[in-house]
């Protein structure tokens, strides 16, 4: 346990340079690359007004040396101040806070659908290597990693909304005639459950299925591929042959000997997929008008709201780094062979 604590401390310390680098890079992107950052940060209204530009330059501290500017930027970030959006006329942190819950809801739903199906499909394929079931899984997962998520979303909408009328219209979290439940957590599904609003709850579930399925397809595909390869790898190990020779039942052989070892690589892959999910969220939320971080990013792009886009970049970078950190820790906890 002592070794584990040491590992934990070292791993936490190693987060610092990565996150620092991440912040440095976004700072570099906004402050050093072409043009006046005041123009970039201030948006189109400032461009046409030289006097306002001067004021803004002073306000942003752009007349100070670069390292001082970076220091100011860093201190602001430590206070969770991600900057001010001139286009929306408010602090970005405030807006991001409101946009977080819908995205988390969507991402969690996608993981709940994607992870079990992906892992099961991988095991299913590995146990039938080079048979019909295996080919079906391999072709499906090839499709899953090749299909752009926004195109898949579109096909889902055509099939399940336009043709089959099974899904609700692809605009937002709830049907427009329903009011949002009283906000307790900010998560529509949880809030409607807590306030006992069953209509809203059912409607929210109905709305989240299609975008979540769209997002989960890539997760299913990647996990199935990894799980299949990892399972095949384990099945051919010497200890598996020994266990088989001893005469253990196939059920125990697979569940106790193969599966537990084969599951390990999926931890890392799931973490990486959650990073990719954040990219997919931008596209999916844009298609489904889902009022989360992704739609916020899309709207910021449309209005050239640079500070907001940079805030999203930093935020998703930090979240991604933390997810990988948790995956590393989890790996150590789950795999007794990992020694610190």
């Amino acid at each position: 346990m002592k070794g584990f604590r040491r590992f934990l401390v070292l791993r936490v310390v190693s987060l610092v340079p990565t996150i620092f680098g991440l912040i440095l890079l976004t700072f570099f992107l906004t402050h050093i690359i072409p043009g006046n950052p005041a123009l970039i940060l201030g948006g189109p209204e400032v461009v046409s007004n030289p006097a306002e530009l001067k004021v803004l330059e002073a306000e942003l501290g752009l007349n100070k040396p670069l390292y001082v500017q970076f220091f100011i930027y860093l201190v602001q970030l430590l206070h969770f101040n991600l900057g001010y959006s001139f286009i929306q006329g408010q602090y970005i942190t405030y807006e991001l806070g409101a946009r977080f819950p819908p995205t988390i809801e969507l991402a969690v739903a996608a993981m709940i659908i994607g992870v079990p199906i992906g892992i099961y499909a991988g095991i299913f394929a590995a146990l039938r290597a080079n048979q019909l079931g295996d080919h079906a899984v391999r072709i499906t997962s090839l499709l899953g990693i090749s299909m752009p998520v926004f195109f898949l979303d579109l096909l889902l909408i055509i099939a399940f909304f336009s043709d089959l009328h099974l899904a609700p219209s692809p605009f937002g979290q709830l049907s427009p005639q329903l009011g949002y439940p009283r906000s307790i957590t900010g998560f529509v599904i949880l809030d409607s459950l807590f306030t006992g609003n069953i209509t809203d709850f059912a409607n929210a579930i109905w709305h989240i299925i299609l975008p979540a399925v769209g997002l989960s397809f890539a997760i299913i595909a990647v996990l199935a591929r990894v799980m299949r390869a990892s399972m095949l790898d384990v099945v051919n190990k010497d200890y598996m042959r020994t266990a088989f020779a001893i005469g253990l039942p196939r059920n125990i052989l697979i569940r106790k000997y193969a599966l537990r070892n084969a599951l390990l690589p999926t931890i890392t892959v799931t973490a990486i997929q959650m990073g990719a999910l954040m990219g997919g969220v931008v596209l999916t939320e844009t298609i489904f008008s889902w009022p989360g971080l992704g739609l916020y990013t899309y709207n910021s792009i449309l209005s050239l709201d640079y500070p907001s886009i940079m805030a999203v970049a930093i935020l998703s970078g930090v979240v991604f780094v933390l997810i990988n950190f948790l995956a590393d820790i989890l790996y150590g906890v789950v795999d007794p062979r990992v020694k610190y």
Binding site: S146, P148, L154, A276, G279, T297, V312, F320
Partner: protein, 289 residues
């Protein structure tokens, strides 16, 4: 002596190549890619209409004999636009992935071979690049650089470099201590000589896998950026932008404007993914019987 060496190196290259062409997936992926390349190269001869030519009296026509894949809201021929869009997307993919390959592999080899300070410096920078979800990073870059052809290329290049250098570095770490490298060193070969003659060649195959996969990713990212409005702008045809343009018509039944370009993205990316997988398989000695 010289003759012998040449024949040997020719054989070592041709074994995986023959295996690649013999495998169904390898051949299929190559044919699909060639089909796209032909479309791209001869776009002006293949496209039946001018991709920018509007014809409002022919707007929103479903696929028919005169308009293979229908027309869009401005009466432009969807198939002609797709052909030109493929030309543009392939250009973006090949340029950006090639640049990323050169820079990434070189950086990875240097990091792996020289180790210590070089390794730390290079890989820490790569770690920071990898810390962003790649699409978000690509969006940030192209927003700052201003939208267009060049900034898409920069965005894709920058986000793919770390992947190449990671893989190149890991192969170098395993070949670095091989006996033949030590032998060359003891015969007085220079570090540069060893780097290019002994360390570089074994890392070609694994990075080639990534190159093929990277082409597909690049097309996906280019399409996603254009779809979000930070890539190629209308009226220039680009596959992702075309999907976005047709979006409003999908719900009213004119599905072909978005779906046709989408299908063309899916097939090329499937081909590059199959190609990557097959290159990996034919170079994996342990899988060979």
């Amino acid at each position: 002596m010289k003759e012998m060496r040449r024949s040997r190196s020719a054989r070592s290259l041709s074994v995986p190549l023959v295996l690649f062409l013999k495998s169904k997936t390898g051949l299929a992926s190559l044919l699909i890619l060639l089909f796209y390349i032909v479309l791209a190269l001869f776009a002006p001869h293949i496209a039946p209409y001018n991709p920018l030519q509007q014809n409002l009296s022919h707007s929103l026509l479903p696929p028919s004999r005169s308009h293979l894949m229908g027309t869009d809201d401005l009466g432009r021929d969807v198939f002609s636009r797709i052909v030109y869009a493929i030309r543009l997307d392939l250009e973006i993919a090949f340029i950006s992935v090639s640049i990323a390959y050169l820079i990434g592999v070189l950086a990875g080899i240097v990091a792996g071979y020289y180790g210590k300070i070089a390794d730390n410096a290079i890989m820490r920078v790569m770690d920071v690049f990898l810390a962003f979800p790649s699409l978000i990073f690509a969006i940030a870059i192209s927003v700052i650089l201003g939208t267009g052809f060049l900034s898409i290329i920069v965005a894709i290049t920058v986000t793919s470099i770390p992947l190449f250098s990671r893989v190149a570095r890991s192969t170098v770490l395993s070949t670095k201590n091989e006996l033949y490298v030590t032998a060359a060193l003891s015969q007085g070969a220079s570090k540069i000589h060893i780097l290019f003659k002994h360390i570089l060649p074994p890392s070609i195959a694994p990075t080639l896998v990534l190159y093929a996969l990277g082409l597909g990713t690049a097309i996906n990212v280019a399409a996603a950026l254009s779809f979000l409005g930070v890539g190629i702008h209308p009226p220039i045809p680009e596959l992702g932008a075309m999907i976005s343009e047709g979006l409003t018509y999908v719900l009213s039944g004119q599905w072909w404007i978005s779906v046709m370009p989408g299908l063309f993205i899916v097939f090329i990316v499937i081909a590059t993914n199959m190609m990557g997988d097959t290159i990996r398989e034919v170079n994996d000695v342990s899988l060979r019987r």
